[in-house]
């Protein structure tokens, strides 16, 4: 069967592609201002990623965290909720995963330890997400405000817990998780890439299936597209919002599998920092489609890992800036693509009958 994208899919692909090109253009302009030839930098970046197994591994490591946080933001956005709080949810997941993993008996076999630690990671994030969902559904507190607040609160609480009980002897590192809870590395030249990537892939496929093929997906997308219509056909909008935010929190929390179980094997201050925020860019660039999110995570992971690899040519702040530029580029390109396909046919105000 040949895959033929629908009109709306084509539009989303166009928007994402234009945004990516615009980001590259802005990056090139910045490099010119800085005084290096852009083409050389971009090619070096791609060259590193494709030829050096270590750089490839670092890219995959970054992308794994970004996929999970990107899915978190994308799921919420699909239901009409802007989850700025993936960062806090991820941090909560990192804490619960590491604490739980360290507390298990030392000889716990991995077929028990790994699932338990994954559940702990998801539960930590889910608890924070659920709180945001409940505040939204029951108290009509806007999720952008509450999730920003919770980012700060979670960061503070986690650091406090670290200082009070976890950190060992003057370090900012907690106890090791048990061996059974560790996920093996992919073996790419000592890079941080590990088997949590399989979890990310499973989540992408699971979410893609739920979203397009189940009544759950239909319900949350209905709430996202028109809550009033959803309510009138009997969908409980509040319940969907709570469940979606719980799920979004769980996805962000699962990123701990990558950072804790796959790489550092302990709680560390600042572990995975900013992945939740860049996840917003990933979700937007992926147009909230799980498959799109996977590709967007690879693109931004490349930027992030590749940016380090070309650090001798341009400062890494330059490539970091581009992760923010992506958000602006997506916002502008999606409006533009939407206008081009719709506004030529229809006025911006009023309906055609």
């Amino acid at each position: 069967m040949i895959w033929r994208p629908s009109a709306s899919t084509t539009r989303e692909l166009q928007a994402a592609l234009i945004a990516l090109l615009a980001t590259i253009a802005v990056g090139s302009a910045l490099m010119l201002i800085y005084g290096v030839a852009p083409a050389g930098v971009w090619l070096a970046m791609l060259d590193e990623i494709t030829r050096d197994p270590y750089s490839l591994g670092q890219m995959l490591y970054k992308a794994t965290g970004l996929v999970l946080c990107g899915l978190s933001v994308a799921l919420a956005l699909d239901a009409g909720l802007f989850n700025i709080g993936a960062e806090g949810q991820m941090t909560a997941g990192v804490l619960t995963c590491a604490v739980f993993g360290a507390a298990l008996p030392a000889d716990t076999p991995s077929f028990i330890a790994v699932p338990l630690c994954l559940v702990a990671a998801a539960a930590g994030g889910a608890a924070v997400g659920a709180l945001i969902g409940v505040l939204r559904a029951k108290r009509n507190a806007h999720e952008v405000i509450t999730s920003i607040m919770l980012n700060v609160i979670v960061a503070g609480v986690v650091l406090w817990i670290g200082n009070a009980v976890l950190f060992r002897g003057g370090t900012t590192r907690g106890g090791q998780i048990v061996d059974g809870a560790k996920l093996p590395e992919l073996g790419l030249a000592g890079s941080a890439a590990n088997w949590s990537i399989a979890i990310a892939i499973v989540m992408v496929l699971l979410l893609a299936w739920l979203r397009s093929r189940t009544t759950w997906g239909q319900a949350w997308r209905a709430v996202g597209r028109d809550p009033e219509a959803a309510r009138s056909v009997g969908i409980s909008v509040g319940r969907v919002q709570i469940l979606v935010m719980t799920g979004a929190g769980a996805l962000a929390g699962l990123a701990a599998a990558n950072f804790v179980m796959g790489h550092k094997h302990a709680f560390e201050e600042g572990l995975g920092r900013n992945t939740g925020f860049i996840g917003i860019s990933v979700a937007l660039l992926g147009r909230t489609n799980p498959i799109g999110v996977a590709f967007a995570a690879i693109a931004l992971g490349t930027l992030s890992a590749g940016g380090l690899a070309v650090g001798d040519k341009v400062p890494k702040e330059l490539t970091e800036m581009l992760q923010g530029v992506v958000v602006l580029a997506v916002a502008i390109s999606s409006v533009w693509v939407h206008r081009r396909s719709i506004a030529s046919e229809r006025p911006l105000v009023g309906k055609v009958t």
Binding site: R213, T215, A222, R225, A229, V233, G234, V349, G350, T353
Partner: protein
């Protein structure tokens, strides 16, 4: 006599041609009715004239001067004296009437709102459309918001005023007022283009008529206007005769029982039974509690009192429980709560319908089969289950809502709010047929409508809401008399029914 507007335009949406060389010639100082079924292209045509939508080709002359269609936009049209009041309104809801009036208009930076407000008020009073310029648009009823837009257009010096289905949202009394105002304006030399479905209004007010069908001008009428030929031109065939109503069995049980149902101060202790097979109408001027009544039955608003659906006491049930108990709800405004406009016809027809999709995994074949069936049943056009609902005409959008709601399993009671508002004659007939068929198939129907003709044609019994209370009722033969309209009108406006104790 000079022509205020002469046009011949073509317009495509995607591959669909909605106007094909549609012509219209409007003499200055006349009321010109533009009629046609929904989807005929009336709204598109007037939007092109007013510069809201750009034509793909054709020509346009305004007051005898031909203009370039490529550059014809709202700004130029307004400068040329063309004002438009669109079907769904184009006011910013959170701003006041006067703030809306000055939005996007020419004027210095130091414009005095108080001064403009006073002028608007004076202008409104003068032409018989009283408005409160300081009220926020969201606080106004649809009728008052529309009056405000008309006055604002005239304030900006419109000499040609386009009204797109202005009477769809008005109560009978308001309609008469508006039609009288249109006549007055025409006498004063204004040109009026009046889009409507209702031929009695055409006869009452229009000097000339242009009939559109499927994007083509099929007929024009002038002088003494006769309704029959216009109707034939619109639908392209003779109208089917009105079906007679079978009364419900005397022993039929109530399928909807309301006991002292109240919502804040908007709905006050309404008690009402609808029996199996019965079609009950709710008449009233917009804003007298109809909206709250429907929402309270559907469980979408907090209420006191009791609601019984079929055998079940649903007073404390969630909306989804009520639907499961056998309620179908056609909401008042298909754009607010009825449809997901950016979803497809098939998706909307199966929206939260687990009886079609399956409980968890969505059976996409079943969704498609359901869509094909509903499309055939209601003649939804285009007959494409993958069409995006936003791109359908108003009448066809409404058919999608009706199709979804009336196909619910184990139907007990259908509550339909304004089921044919802004819908063309063909679709009205289809929707009425479906409601009658549902009643015949042993459900009850409660129809809330601002259109008395609709209620008279459809109902066994009509109750009248005034200030949130039921103030009167006409049933059976009382509805078939010549005076029924007048009596209902009197009740709706607070008069006392003759002969009532």
């Amino acid at each position: 006599m000079t022509l205020a507007i002469e046009a011949s335009v073509t317009k495509r949406y995607g591959v669909r041609e909605v106007l094909h060389d549609a012509t219209i010639a409007v003499r200055a100082g006349t009321v010109h009715a533009l009629v046609g079924e929904n989807g005929a292209g009336k709204s598109t045509l007037v939007k092109i004239l007013a510069g809201v939508v750009r034509a793909d080709g054709g020509k346009l002359s305004v007051a005898g001067t031909s203009v370039l269609l490529g550059g014809w936009d709202r700004r130029r049209a307004r400068a040329a004296g063309i004002g438009i009041v669109q079907q769904h309104g184009a006011s910013a809801q959170t701003l006041s009437v006067v703030e809306n009036a000055v939005l996007g208009a020419e004027g210095g930076p130091l414009l005095s709102l108080a001064e403009v407000a006073a002028q608007l008020r004076a202008l409104g009073d003068k032409i018989g459309l009283p408005i409160d310029p300081l009220a926020r648009v969201e606080d106004l009823g649809l009728g008052a918001a529309q009056r405000a837009e008309i006055v604002a257009a005239l304030y900006h010096g419109a000499t040609t005023l386009i009204l797109d289905e202005p009477t769809a949202v008005l109560a009978p009394v308001e309609v008469e007022g508006l039609l009288a105002t249109l006549r007055t304006l025409a006498r004063e030399g204004k040109t009026i283009i009046f889009v409507t479905h209702k031929l009695d209004e055409v006869r009452a007010v229009a000097d000339e008529v242009t009939v559109l069908r499927e994007g083509v001008t099929v007929a024009t009428f002038a002088g003494e206007l006769d309704v029959q030929p216009i109707a034939r031109a619109m639908v392209g065939e003779d109208l089917p005769p009105a079906t007679t109503l079978e009364p419900p069995a005397a022993t039929a049980p109530a399928v909807l029982s309301l006991g002292k149902l109240s919502v804040g101060r908007d709905l006050v202790e309404v008690s009402l039974d609808v029996r199996r097979g019965e079609i009950v109408g709710v008449a009233g001027v917009d804003g007298n509690g109809q909206r709250e009544l429907v929402l309270a039955i559907a469980g979408l608003v907090k209420s006191r009192g009791s609601v019984r659906i079929g055998e079940r006491d649903a007073s404390h049930d969630s909306p989804s429980r009520r639907l499961a108990a056998g309620l179908a709800h056609v909401p008042e405004d298909r754009h607010r709560g009825g449809l997901i406009l950016d979803a497809t016809v098939a998706e909307n027809l199966a929206l939260n319908r687990r009886d079609i999709t399956g409980r968890f995994r969505v059976d996409r074949d079943a969704v498609r089969r359901n869509a094909v069936k509903r499309i055939a049943e209601l003649d939804i056009r285009p007959a494409d289950s993958d069409a995006i609902v936003r791109e359908l005409s108003g009448g066809n959008q409404q058919k999608v809502v009706v199709g979804r709601e009336l196909s619910r399993p184990r139907l007990q009671i259908i509550v339909a709010a304004q089921p044919t508002r802004g819908v063309d004659l063909g679709a009205v007939a289809k929707i009425h047929d479906r409601l009658r068929a549902a009643a015949k198939a042993a459900a009850g129907v409660l129809v809330v409508s601002a259109d008395l003709d609709e209620l008279l044609a459809l109902c066994h019994r009509v109750v009248v809401l005034l200030r949130g209370r039921i103030v009167g009722e006409l049933a059976g033969d009382e509805l078939r008399t010549q005076t029924a309209r007048g009596e209902l009108g009197l009740l709706m406006t607070g008069g006392v029914r003759e002969g009532a104790a």
